[in-house]
């Protein structure tokens, strides 16, 4: 561990004890939760923060002047401060917009900033390993405003193939890529891509959904222009996500959804939008969810992101080694086989057994994995797959989870012969 990051108190067993759902049993077995990449589990601190809001402080935000309304506003705005600190947003909370999830954040980017700033023929450069959330909004924009959507290919090593990046960058106004693939586990060279994008006068947007709960996120260091993620993938609740951009860009972005809360003035002849994040937060926001997100940030900071990253790296290395040794090559990992620039997401292709059948057998062992295309169909096509069974780690994962995974996989392989 790097000096200056002295986090020694991290203990996954304590995280486990803090996480109520992990005490459940299914089909007579203790649950083995390996689906954090789809949605993480919440520690009691997050659940209690949300309950506390409803039990003690519930009121609408930015409206009433009574005590609980002030408290509700403090909870909501406090979460914005916590998130800004967590990702080291260059100018603080004024750059943090709360959305419904990372998908809505991408839609905000495409339908507000991109729609106002891109001209027909301008190129948005995404990659073949993107989640549909970072593909479909761009095709939607293409269909109304004639932009071009271009893809950075993924190599046979499951990493972005940047060999022809100079060719790919022609006409690009926005690079929009994931920090970490939700299928392959590949961690992309965001800092390098930001330098490349800027050298061509383009901006760069980053999908941080898979990264924020598993490694340190430092937006000052990354030097990107847009960053999006969801709370529920970082031990927080569903229903709230984050859109970050630099103040200067945010200031010039046209409003997206219209309604209450996003205005400075409304008259019978028109309206004036609010400035700052509230311009993009029409209607009553997810207040309880913001309380949960704020608590998730505090919880993760308490564990130490460096310690979580190191813990998950070890789990991933162990799982990759053992998957490689067992099953006579019938279980193939779709993703990098080392832990350099790689996170704890492990997609499996089991020879002769469809991912849904794998997951169904695993369920009988209490093992939760995600089968399917993981909302990344272009990537699945790239590797001639229709589906994989994906196991993914979180701060509460233990080597014991991999033990159960391997036991259950053995059963699936035998059953379908």
């Amino acid at each position: 561990m790097a000096p200056g990051h002295a986090v020694t108190s991290f203990d996954p067993r304590r995280v486990r004890a803090d996480t109520p759902l992990l005490k459940r049993s299914v089909h007579g077995r203790t649950i083995t939760y390996l689906d954090t990449a789809a949605s993480s589990l919440q520690p009691r601190a997050v659940i209690e923060a949300m309950s506390r809001y409803y039990e003690l402080r519930h009121a609408n935000v930015h409206r009433g002047v009574y005590q609980t309304a002030n408290e509700a506003t403090s909870v909501y705005e406090g979460a914005r401060e916590s998130v800004a600190r967590f990702i080291n947003a260059p100018s603080g909370a004024g750059e943090i917009v709360f959305t419904k999830n990372a998908t809505e954040s991408f839609n905000l980017l495409a339908k507000s900033w991109a729609s106002a700033n891109l001209k027909p023929g301008d190129v948005v450069l995404v990659s073949e390993m993107e989640h549909h959330a970072n593909i479909v909004p761009w095709f939607q924009l293409r269909d109304v405003s004639g932009i071009e959507v271009r893809f950075i290919p993924v190599g046979d090593d499951y990493r972005l193939d940047l060999t022809n990046i100079d060719e790919l960058m022609k006409g690009v106004k926005l690079v929009s890529v994931t920090a970490m693939s939700n299928v392959l586990g590949t961690v992309n060279p965001i800092k390098e891509l930001a330098k490349t994008a800027h050298s061509y006068g383009a901006l760069i947007a980053v999908d941080g959904a898979q990264l924020v709960a598993h490694a340190v996120t430092d937006l000052v260091d990354l030097d990107v222009d847009f960053f999006v993620f969801s709370a529920h993938k970082m031990l927080g609740p569903t229903g709230i996500g984050v859109f970050w951009t630099r103040s200067a860009i945010l200031h010039d972005m046209p409003p997206f959804l219209g309604g209450g809360g996003m205005i400075a003035d409304v008259r019978t002849d028109g309206y004036t939008p609010a400035t700052g994040p509230s311009r993009f937060e029409a209607g009553t926001p997810p207040i309880a969810e913001a309380a949960g997100l704020g608590a998730a940030v505090l919880y993760l900071e308490g564990l130490g992101m460096d310690a979580i990253a190191e813990h998950e790296r070890r789990l991933t290395a162990d799982a990759l080694t053992r998957l490689g040794l067992e099953f006579d090559g019938r279980v193939r990992v779709i993703g990098p086989n080392d832990t350099l620039s790689r996170g704890g997401v492990i997609s499996l292709d089991v020879d002769g057994v469809h991912a849904h059948d794998v997951a169904q057998v695993l369920d009988q062992f209490g093992v939760c994995v995600r089968p399917g295309h993981h909302c990344a169909k272009p990537l699945m096509r790239r590797f001639n797959l229709t589906a994989t069974a994906r196991a993914s780690f979180g701060p509460y994962s233990l080597v014991r989870d991999t033990d159960v995974l391997l036991e259950a996989l053995g059963h699936a392989v035998t059953m379908f012969g």
């Binding site: 059948d357 009988q364 399917g372 295309h373 229709t386 589906a387």
Partner: protein, 153 residues
């Protein structure tokens, strides 16, 4: 593992390992219909050769899980050579089998007795209803077949 064995009956695994009526028919004259399961990426193409009100031949291509593949194979074996009216009857009975789960949740609904003998090997798929997420796997081929028959009109 009793639940699992209920889902993965031997008949199902057999049809998964050795699917019946795989292949294509020249289209036209055969009717060609595609079905997709957007949630899991399963794809199926059904080819129907209908002559004088009889489904003379049926072929299937595509890929998917054991439930969707065996269901389509079992379906092809059940409907091949049957008059269209009979095919529609089999589809209706099968769909009824797949909706048992929902109707049993509704206390007011009188569950219609299903003639399992009339379903033959298809009855092996009844374990699927205990796994609601998998019902769409089992019904993909059948919905695609229905769509193909609609094109006859």
């Amino acid at each position: 593992m009793s639940n699992l064995e209920d889902l993965y009956r031997e008949v199902i695994l057999d049809h998964y390992r050795s699917p019946r009526n795989r292949g294509e028919l020249p289209s036209p004259p055969a009717i060609r219909v595609e079905g997709f399961n957007p949630l899991c990426g399963d794809e199926i193409t059904v080819y129907l050769d209908v002559r004088d009100g009889v489904l003379v031949d049926i072929k299937l291509t595509g890929h998917g899980c054991s439930i969707s593949q065996s269901s389509s194979s079992l379906m092809s074996a059940a409907v091949k050579g049957k008059p269209i009216e009979k095919v529609r009857e089999i589809i209706a009975t099968f769909k009824q089998l797949m909706t048992v789960h929902e109707t049993s949740l509704d206390e007011k609904a009188e569950p219609q007795p299903i003639d399992l003998r009339a379903l033959g090997e298809l009855a092996a798929l009844q374990g699927v209803v205990k796994f609601p997420v998998r019902i769409k796997c089992a019904t993909l081929a059948w919905n695609t077949l229905s769509q193909g028959l609609d094109e006859l009109n």
